[in-house]
Symmetry: C2
């Protein structure tokens, strides 16, 4: 799981190469933590970009959607697509405007979508996506029935040509600016799960399951 990715061509990190990573471990970790991705594809010479939920199954990214959706129709054609996954970690406030930045972890994947048509594999991918939304949810919720499974398309994209880009740490200012009387540092962005909002029509007597209680602490 630590194979060297193709670090040339499209996924080469050209700008600030010191922020670039091409190993599976780094790439997979970012994919697994992010709650959604953006998929970019070309339709009639026009770039499109659509946010969607994803999950990782080994070394593939899986996406799903309604059979009739633009995303599924375009991504299942096997044309080239690009997928970005971005986690914002902090606002980097330098002494100079020029050196302002963000701390972030991002992955870009270049690949082609392949539709998963085998029902068993489809269910496995849908389990991965459901548990990616919330670990433990698949076992608790009602599984897809035949009709729902038919209405849903699942697309797999090999995480083959991919790169991660990461910025961490304090701002970097020009030597001369360190003496300026300007506060500099990082404002961390913290993402939390807030107090669960039960469905107003939730049946009485159903308490919050353990796998939710655990993550809201």
């Amino acid at each position: 799981m630590q194979n060297k990715k193709n670090a040339e061509g499209k996924s080469k990190v050209n700008r600030k190469p010191e922020r670039g990573f091409h190993d599976d471990k780094t790439i997979h970790k970012i994919i697994d933590e992010a709650q959604y991705c953006h998929v970019s594809f070309i339709q009639e010479d026009q770039p499109f970009i659509i946010p969607t939920i994803h999950a990782r199954l080994d070394d593939s990214l899986v996406l799903h959607g309604a059979k009739a959706s633009r995303l599924i129709k375009q991504v299942s054609t096997g044309n080239e697509i690009a997928i970005a996954i971005t986690i914002l970690d902090g606002l980097v406030l330098a002494r100079s405007v020029f050196h302002h930045s963000m701390n972030y972890r991002s992955v870009v994947i270049f690949g082609k979508g392949v539709e998963i048509t085998d029902d068993k594999k489809k269910m496995k991918a849908l389990k991965a996506i459901t548990d990616h939304i919330l670990q433990g949810r698949w076992d608790d919720a009602r599984k897809p029935n035949e009709k729902e499974l038919k209405a849903t398309s699942v697309i797999s994209v090999k995480i083959d040509e991919a790169s991660a880009k990461i910025r961490t740490g304090p701002p970097k200012d020009d030597e001369d600016d360190y003496s300026l009387p300007v506060w500099a540092g990082v404002l961390p962005i913290v993402k939390l799960i807030g107090e669960p909002e039960a469905d107003p029509v939730l049946k009485k007597g159903i308490s919050i399951p353990d796998y939710i209680g655990r993550i809201i602490k």
Copy 2:
């Protein structure tokens, strides 16, 4: 500011049209709240997607970057680009796997980039971007000097063909599923600014400015 956007063609919301909005007020609010965007463009028949910081100046989106960056080189060509801005608000846990969803606010803009070359307009755009990172920061930090201004390109994209898509509220399950003994509801995603991390080499005696203190309460 409430003009009807072009609700046909590329930016028409086809799936779940009840979630679609085309008015400036809704679109601008999402753009203003989001901390970054994803830009998609085509280079040699290949879709690319890059996360970057943005700001809104009236009815245009402004982006910036190093002159030599792929983003700037491609986006300043005047070719078609697509920009997505997505805010995740909550995980929507339905009784059935099929109806799981996310609460979100998203905008997609289709347009073309135009480079801003006038120095005064460039500075205005950089102020908008800096204050979009953190309101009040431009006035506090050292402004770009001539060399920095030259090394930075600023691109403007008219928010002309754009649409917003919003999902709010509890899950919607199939009638038969409401009797299932499964907890259903929304887990809100809360984004906070954490405790400021001062640059380890910050000059002594510089306290956290008001415009930061205010947002961390």
